[in-house]
């Protein structure tokens, strides 16, 4: 199953310029999602990070991973996701292994460790081509409205 940006926006509360996934290319039940972020040359964050040496900030890779985890949560708990609850990140353990540059296609594979109504844990792996550029364990909460 694939999701375009409009479908992603129906689940995520994030909007440009803080929406960091462009498409979902794979969803495996409530266990795994694979998201893609096309890292454009004109991303606003490259203006300052860094002038003449553009590198995608690690925190934004983490944010993209967290956004993919929301899609994963929505696959596991569609009825709650439909109510548009508040999602918040509680704890992150991450490693950044290689820089991400303008023009890269960031592929983020996020798998469920445990998801319950009001919280979730997911492992996420970000790749550019065959190279793993970051990995993280994310613990997030859901506050129903």
């Amino acid at each position: 199953m694939k999701w375009d940006k409009e479908k992603i926006k129906s689940v995520l509360p994030h909007r440009e310029p803080f929406l960091f996934i462009d498409e979902i290319i794979e969803i495996v039940g409530s266990q795994k999602v694979v998201a893609v972020k096309h890292v454009r040359k004109d991303e606003s964050f490259f203006e300052g990070h860094f002038p003449n040496n553009p590198v995608m900030p690690g925190v934004l890779i983490t944010e993209a991973m967290a956004q993919s985890a929301i899609v994963l949560y929505a696959s596991a708990k569609p009825e709650i996701a439909k109510t548009h609850p508040a999602y918040y990140l509680g704890k992150v353990k991450s490693e950044f292994l290689s820089p991400v540059y303008p023009g890269d296609e960031l592929v983020i594979e996020t798998t469920s460790v445990k998801i319950i109504d009001d919280a979730g844990i997911a492992d996420s792996l970000a790749r550019v081509g065959d190279k793993v550029v970051a990995r993280a364990n994310l613990i997030f909460g859901i506050r129903k409205k």
């Binding site: 509680g90 704890k91 460790v113 445990k114 319950i116 109504d117 009001d118 919280a119 979730g120 844990i121 613990i139 997030f140 909460g141």
Partner: protein, 80 residues
């Protein structure tokens, strides 16, 4: 095995909720006495599932709100 298991569980939980093992009594309620929120709760559940290779269904989580209850709940699930 029983004393060791209790100590093992106490250490596992105390690491996650950042409460010293001495303060983590069998009866202390995670939510009311130890301020465990849903994020810490799922961390505890996931740590048990990983360490002991068990699955704790979501509907059972509210039943295990103290160290004593966790031990009572998980001990029969041990595969040893």
């Amino acid at each position: 095995m029983s004393i060791n298991y209790e100590e093992e569980v106490r250490n596992l939980v105390s690491d996650i909720i950042e409460v010293s093992p001495e303060k983590l009594t069998l009866d202390a309620d995670f939510i009311d006495d130890l301020s465990v929120d849903s994020l810490k709760a799922i961390e505890i559940v996931a740590a048990f599932e990983k360490k002991y290779k068990i699955v704790i269904p979501e509907e059972d989580i509210p039943k295990i709100r103290s160290l004593g209850k966790i031990i009572e709940y998980t001990r029969p699930l041990q595969k040893d």
